[in-house]
Subunit: 351 residues, 2 copies
């Protein structure tokens, strides 16, 4: 039987880096919203940032008030915009790169929220990219900066560096074995970090996915944030890998049965509701991580493939793939068909 995979890539799914920035000469978006005559100022912010980004990459501008509900849901599901941005839709906008790796939200909680996304775990690279973007914008835009406090933000929790470094972790073993709530979450809090469910604040950890990120942005340097988050992730990954070995040893055939059945259902069902999909997908991922199935490759490319599949199978994404909106049951049928085809195409073999 194949051994438990011991790679970082079988745990750390993706890295996300965010910077909060504001213009020195404009009221924060919350104030802009309250003032009926401030729309011009809000538009000016959008115009300035769009101009600053013109030379950096290919960006699409979404002025939220003009974006259809379907498109809005799609962008939310793809983590390219936030619920706050939608709430501010009268004045808010997003600039999204064609490869969907960079998203710059405008007039969200702050004037500017720069985001960078990448598969895998690489804080230095993600930080290098986001600062490259930030430098390019800063050349033409004077951000509000205070010698004592650092970057000024609408909410004090983002004051200082304005940096949030997040890593998405697949943690079936520590989560299912209780180590997550018992040990990891308290330790993260002590370090000024949090672990959120994958689908944003308030969501449970559906699919055994957790987003670990820093809460504190003030009084620490960017380097310190990266170091704290990086070390925490290192440590959580080691704990997860250890617990996976224990889980496999203790779980025996009953665990194997559960995970193999998930594969059987995903490759044969004709209706697949989203929650069941996420649960079975987590079981399939765990099966791959534990070496119960293999795609015959050395690496853990399956992690990215399955991550993209999870995003593609969210409701608004399904509607886009289908080219027209579907009823709930039709969605479940579409999801079943798509997932079956995708997972069969991975040519997994049971070990």
């Amino acid at each position: 039987m194949s051994a438990v995979r011991e790679s970082f890539e079988s745990v750390a799914v993706s890295t996300r880096m965010r910077l909060a920035r504001n213009f020195a000469d404009y009221p924060f978006p919350g104030r802009l919203l309250q003032d009926a005559h401030a729309e011009e100022q809000a538009q000016e912010i959008v115009r300035l940032i769009a101009a600053a980004l013109a030379g950096v990459d290919e960006f699409t501008l979404y002025e939220m008030k003009n974006v259809s509900p379907e498109r809005t849901a799609l962008l939310l599901e793809r983590n390219l915009i936030s619920r706050d941005l939608v709430r501010n839709r009268r004045i808010s906008a997003a600039l999204i790169s064609s490869d969907e790796i960079i998203s710059v939200m405008l007039n969200e909680e702050d004037h500017v929220r720069e985001q960078y996304f990448m598969h895998g775990f690489d804080l230095p690279r993600a930080y290098e990219r986001i600062t490259g973007l930030d430098d390019a914008i800063s050349e033409s835009v004077p951000f509000a900066f205070d010698e004592q406090f650092g970057y000024l933000t609408a909410c004090p929790t983002n004051l200082g560096t304005g940096l949030r470094a997040s890593v998405m972790l697949f943690l079936p073993a520590v989560s299912r074995r209780g180590v997550m709530t018992r040990t990891i979450v308290p330790e993260l809090l002590r370090l000024g970090l949090t672990a959120r469910g994958a689908y944003g604040e308030g969501s449970g950890a559906e699919g055994d996915l957790f987003q670990v990120s820093n809460e504190v942005t003030l009084g620490v340097s960017e380097e310190q944030i990266l170091s704290i988050v990086g070390k925490a992730v290192d440590s959580i990954v080691q704990m997860e890998l250890l617990e996976r070995c224990r889980m496999k040893a203790e779980g025996g055939i009953a665990l194997r049965d559960k995970l193999c059945r998930a594969y059987g259902v995903l490759t044969n069902c004709r209706l697949l509701e989203e929650h069941e999909f996420l649960r079975r997908l987590a079981d399939l991922r765990l099966g791959l991580a534990l070496g119960y199935f293999t795609d015959g490759e050395e690496g853990d490319e399956w992690m990215n493939e399955l991550d993209e599949l999870a995003v593609a199978m969210r409701p608004a994404n399904i509607n886009r793939l289908n080219g027209a909106p579907l009823e709930a049951q039709e969605q479940n049928a579409y999801r079943a068909e798509y997932v079956r085809t995708a997972i069969c195409a991975m040519k997994l073999s049971a070990d």
Copy 2:
């Protein structure tokens, strides 16, 4: 999509014919058992029948008192002996042909119970075989026969012809749609017939299998019994085929999902408890009957294959296949492995 299969073979699984006979000069087995000195008489019956059968076919003699509990369980599961035969084990025996098609039980409720089994539905052929056997035995053995009553039996319900004609029917549609209890069972009773669950009297209809047979043996000729049972089976088969079409039309994708998931579980699980196996197997059979899967063949040979698989996966049969007794959990693992291999080998494809 493939059409619903409309063959008899997709409904009628097997035919079983039984004759009850007694020696004129010996007390019935119930009396023999009560008399400590009657063992010699019981042995004489066994000896006489064994001798009569010597020229007919290759038979193995099982004197039940010498048969191990494991072997006894195995024979019970294969429907080659009855619980009554086991109860009478002090004096009872069975002669079983090497192909397991003929079983002659001795000193069960009657001195002699001749049984013939065949795949598919063919009452005339089964009757021809059982009477051929009966003629061969009768040549050397004088059976108790009364001009008025016919063959004499220990229990009045078997008096007369001593003939029970049984057909095993796979009835998922009429059973799941309530037609079985609402219409078919009362009609069978009216005709002097019964429908039992596949696993003998008292068992529920596990696996959607029902054994239809005559209850009355007195006052009707063998030909009448065959005719009544045959017509009832014809009629039930037509109702089942009709209900399958309705079921497919009304069940839509939810039904297809359920049946395809059964295939997914059977071909991927690593633990399979017997009741779940029978439930999923019935779903798989139904899927084949409805044309959701196909084995690429014109005929319905899969019906026999799956029927043999069901018998092979009963607990004592698993122990024999394994060569040594297994604990419950080990049985479930063995069953999962065996079923997975068997069903994968059928190379079914989803339509």
